[in-house]
């Protein structure tokens, strides 16, 4: 096999849509899913005489992203025009940044696939730009439809160094990047909705060689695992080419996820000359030290810091912390429950168990979840002080999910409060012994292992309200 002889060298370009209310250079809404061409105005339609005005919020979010990725934010950056003709690019140029980007020189730390050791993937630059519209080729036979709702939506492009050596590391880089951006609250980072898009530059070289091979650019991946598979496929293709004495040609390739192959793109990327020059309609972007310092001061907590803090505060093991903090919303939910209930372990078990199960089953995210952290914490307290049994708690929780009511009310309404009263439990125990004569006889004859079965019958009869401890005690006495 040729694979071992070669090393994969990958750099990733990630486009991320910033979570602003309005577009980068006009006041149009950025809402996803509006009817075609509704979110447009003279500026984003490129009508004659219209001029761009920079969205300050987009600058704030881009700066926050840059700082969160450890980049140096440049005090002066310059918008530039990237010129090319395409029907969904109304002005005939895209406003981007070229030789003076917003930020340079950050990194993302990942755990290397093989060793698990920390691996730093360098970030070359982070710059601001605007999105193009959408060309729709398959809706009207013989025609292409243009939707310009997306034209002018603010993006950042994050360009990595060619530091990635495997498809798994590329996946880890992307997942970590996504997580950081989520924590920074700068983007929805959804590949499905197109708010995060990945292009990969890949080359191969013989192991030990320092000179880089000829690279190709792979596009059209619509998931992180798609990126990984595309890189593997392209790696195989390039290795096979070199093995057979061929040469890699610099070109743009499209990933065909259904067939699991890369195909040459019809447009010849390499022949494009974008004729960049400074955008004369916008002044250079000047950010003073104090403004950047304030942005740094107000950065949200990043994943690593949160992992460390939650681990220390609530005694959660590192491996558990990883799952808990994968998405910031879940981590925040957990923390709120843990703080309110004062029981990190129980909060962890409930959040990772019941809560996640409900979210998975309903397909919703936490923003639509009806159980408030304070209510879940209260439920935990009810369990702890014996007011609600473990079994009943699950039923109470299910009703809380349905109704959004607080647990005490649900338990009261449904009669699910735990019963510790000796007389009531004794009645249930007696009834069970009568209703299950066979088991009762064997148990009373000394077959102790049947005690669990009988406790189960009692719990069922009491609809989970009986305190299992008392039931056990009583049965022991009877069997006694």
């Amino acid at each position: 096999m040729s694979r071992e002889r070669f090393e994969m060298v990958v750099g990733l370009e990630v486009h991320v849509q910033l979570k602003t209310r309005t577009k980068a250079f006009c006041a149009c809404s950025t809402d996803f899913g509006a009817p075609p061409n509704v979110n447009t105005c003279p500026v984003c339609l490129a009508l004659p005489g219209a001029l761009p005005v920079l969205n300050e919020r987009a600058v704030e979010l881009a700066t926050r992203a840059a700082l969160g990725l450890g980049c140096q934010v440049n005090p002066v950056s310059v918008f530039a025009r990237k010129n090319y003709f395409y029907p969904d690019l109304p002005k005939g140029y895209q406003i981007s940044q070229f030789d003076q980007p917003l930020a340079t020189g950050g990194f993302i730390a990942i755990a290397a696939k093989d060793s698990g050791a920390e691996l730093k993937i360098g970030i070359t630059r982070l710059h601001m730009e605007e999105d193009a519209g959408k060309s729709i080729h398959d809706r009207y036979p013989g025609a292409t439809a243009i939707d310009l709702n997306r034209a002018g939506v603010p993006l950042i492009e994050i360009v990595s160094e060619p530091d990635i050596r495997s498809s798994a590391d590329a996946g880890a880089y992307l997942r970590t990047l996504k997580q950081i951006l989520q924590y920074l609250e700068v983007s929805d980072v959804s590949m499905e909705e197109g708010s995060l898009r990945v292009d990969a530059n890949i080359s191969v070289r013989p192991q030990g060689q320092s000179r880089l091979g000829t690279k190709t650019e792979v596009k059209n991946m619509n998931s992180f695992s798609g990126v990984e598979r595309a890189l593997d496929a392209e790696f195989e293709r390039q290795c096979a080419l070199l093995d057979s004495g061929g040469k890699v040609e610099q070109q743009t390739l499209l990933w065909d996820g259904a067939r699991e192959v890369v195909r040459p793109s019809r447009t010849k990327e390499g022949s494009h000359d974008y004729r960049y020059f400074p955008e004369p309609d916008l002044r250079p972007l000047m950010l003073d030290d104090k403004w950047i310092g304030d942005a740094r001061k107000h950065l949200p907590e990043l994943p690593d810091a949160r992992k460390k803090r939650l681990g220390q505060d609530f005694g959660i093991a590192p491996i558990e912390i990883e799952q808990l903090t994968a998405a910031p919303a879940l981590a925040e939910y957990f923390e709120a429950v843990a703080r309110a209930s004062g029981d990190g372990k129980a909060a962890y078990n409930w959040v990772m168990g019941e809560v996640l199960a409900v979210l998975k089953a309903t397909g919703n995210d936490l923003s639509h979840f009806r159980v408030r952290p304070a209510d879940l914490a209260q439920l935990l307290s009810l369990v702890r002080d014996g007011t609600v049994s473990h079994t009943a708690a699950k039923r109470v929780f299910a009703l809380m999910v349905e109704t959004g009511k607080p647990p005490a009310q649900v338990a009261a309404d449904e009669g699910l409060s735990q019963v510790g009263d000796e007389d009531a439990i004794a009645t249930w125990v007696d009834e069970v012994l009568v209703e299950h004569p066979e088991e009762a006889k064997r148990y009373l004859a000394g077959e102790k292992k049947l005690q669990g079965v009988l406790v189960g019958f009692v719990m069922k009869k009491s609809k989970g309200r009986a305190d299992p401890k008392r039931v056990n005690q009583l049965l022991s006495t009877r069997g006694g």
Binding site: P48, A50, L51, V53, N83, F277, P280
Partner: protein
């Protein structure tokens, strides 16, 4: 009324309208009557591309009703104004005199027009121009050349030739034009009217169809310096829709007619002048103190050996008037000015090649689709939609921005542009208050006389530096050569339009009737 109308300035018209002596509809009718009388259509002077007398009259009548008897209708109340066809207007089309925008009506309006209307101005026409403002004669219009009212065999200059000719023909006292390299001042000189290009950033470009964004400014043309001052004051100032517009405060330019620096406090007189009820004629009769303390620079690069002797003589006459009004004339040098034309013809086409990319047949304007795919549609639309000069500049601009040529052309030209601007900075830092030059090297030439593009470009040799440096400049009539008008140019430092107008008012007053002799 119509005889008087062709002689009245904007301030006088507005003043009469507000006094109730005449009505806004009277003024609109007077304007259209004059237009018919002199002939502004395609087969005559070819000044108007689009006008709608009925709609203009309706607007004037609506205004008349709103005014009642006492409400302040604005400093331009009832003043008919013509607008260059590259400034987006509601109602009338905005086509840049190009086939590619034939019939296009903008759904929004330029900030400058909105401000004009808010001050009571009535838009009566969109004027002819060189296609996309690329030219110096208004011959590059898809609708044929505009004729110079002083001599119909001659061009009116360009690219704002229609607006300059409208003033010269007496159809409006005020017009908006646009400048990238002299397109207001040069036609103003050729037509014997006043034309001002403000500091870059002084007037919002929102709604001005872009040619070269870093050079473009909307300018004002008028019969007199006072018209230009009043017009510019109306449209100047920060606009949040144009990120390159400036928030430097706008002084009352008309006060500069009284001489001296802007007064600190608002006296009743200044307020009266602001609203067009000056207690003294503007400008007042000149005295030996009108320009006391003012240093006027005479740059040798703008008075070359080759300069037409008659134009030189008229400039010397103007300089003599400056002296007699108390100014000091100082010989100066702007050594990098001779590089301006090549620098301009790299930078302006570069930006134009990008600015005009939006005219692609996809969303609006002309579409020519041979049915052979997207690229063929682009090619057919753009090669049939753009005229030869526009095509030439797009090709030139695309070339100088191309990989491998960018550093040699665009980047180097930018560096030289900075040097040209530095020349102006150091002259003004040395105590010179204003610079005086001829506006153009020649008077208006005959239609069809210049066929070589480079020879045509040289028309802007004295004007283009102000665009490259971003400084304000005004052209004022200073006399005639063989019956054709000659313009003198006054240039000042960034945002010092006040001094520029002060010197211009003085020159106009100092020359008196000689300005048109």
């Amino acid at each position: 009324m119509s005889v008087e109308f062709t002689k009245l300035g904007a301030a006088a018209i507005a003043s009469n309208v507000r006094a109730g002596d005449v009505s806004p509809p009277d003024m609109v009718r007077a304007s259209f009557n004059r237009a018919r009388e002199i002939g502004v259509g395609r087969d005559t002077l070819n000044i108007y591309l689009h006008s709608d007398e009925k709609a203009s009259l309706e607007e004037a009548e609506a205004m008349h009703e709103r005014m009642g008897s006492s409400a302040d209708a604005g400093v331009l109340a009832g003043v008919p104004v013509a607008i260059k066809d590259n400034i987006a207007s509601l109602g009338l089309p905005t086509t840049c005199a190009s086939k590619i925008l034939a019939g296009y009506v903008s759904p929004f309006e330029a900030t400058a027009i909105t401000r004009m209307r808010a001050s009571g101005a009535l838009i009566v026409a969109k004027t002819n121009m060189d296609e996309f403002a690329m030219g110096s004669s208004t011959e590059n219009s898809a609708h044929g050349p505009t004729r110079n009212p002083h001599d119909v065999r001659c061009v009116p200059g360009g690219s704002s030739g229609g607006s300059a000719a409208a003033i010269a023909a007496g159809v409006t006292p005020l017009a908006l034009g646009s400048e990238t390299g002299g397109s207001v001042r040069q036609p103003a000189a050729f037509c014997g009217v006043v034309g001002v290009k403000p500091t870059y950033g002084r007037v919002s470009r929102y709604g001005l169809v872009a040619f070269a964004s870093s050079l473009d400014q909307i300018g004002v043309l008028g019969r007199t310096v006072d018209d230009a001052a009043l017009g510019l004051e109306t449209i100047a100032g920060f606009d949040k829709l144009d990120s390159t517009s400036s928030n430097v405060p706008v002084p009352i330019y008309r006060l500069s007619a009284l001489g001296g620096p802007p007064p600190d406090s608002k006296s009743p007189d200044t307020e009266a002048i602001r609203i067009g009820r000056s207690p003294v004629p503007l400008p007042p009769p000149p005295t030996s103190k009108t320009l006391e303390g003012v240093v006027i620079g005479k740059p040798k690069e703008y008075f070359p050996e080759s300069l037409d002797a008659s134009i030189r003589d008229l400039c010397e006459r103007s300089l003599d008037r400056f002296r007699s009004m108390g100014a000091t004339i100082r010989d100066i040098s702007l050594p990098r000015s001779p590089l301006a034309i090549p620098v301009y013809y790299i930078l302006a086409p570069a930006e134009a090649s990008s600015n005009l990319a939006r005219f692609d047949g996809v969303r609006y304007g002309l579409r020519v689709d041979p049915g052979k795919g997207l690229k063929a549609m682009y090619e057919a639309t753009r090669s049939q939609g753009f005229g030869p000069e526009v095509t030439r500049r797009i090709l030139l601009g695309t070339y100088v921005l191309s990989a491998g040529y960018y550093d040699a052309y665009y980047k180097k030209a930018q560096a030289v542009r900075t040097l040209i601007a530095d020349d102006f900075k150091s002259v003004f830092a040395s105590g010179v208050n204003a610079i005086f030059t001829p506006t153009t090297p020649t008077t208006a030439f005959q239609v069809g006389a210049i066929s070589d593009p480079y020879e045509m470009y040289l028309n802007d040799i004295f004007t283009v530096t102000a665009n490259l440096a971003g400084v304000p400049a005004i052209s004022v009539p200073i006399g005639r050569v063989r019956r054709l008008p000659v313009g003198g140019q006054i240039i000042t430092g960034h945002f010092d339009e006040y001094t520029m107008f002060r010197v211009a008012y003085a020159l106009e007053a100092g020359l008196g009737a000689e300005a048109h002799q």
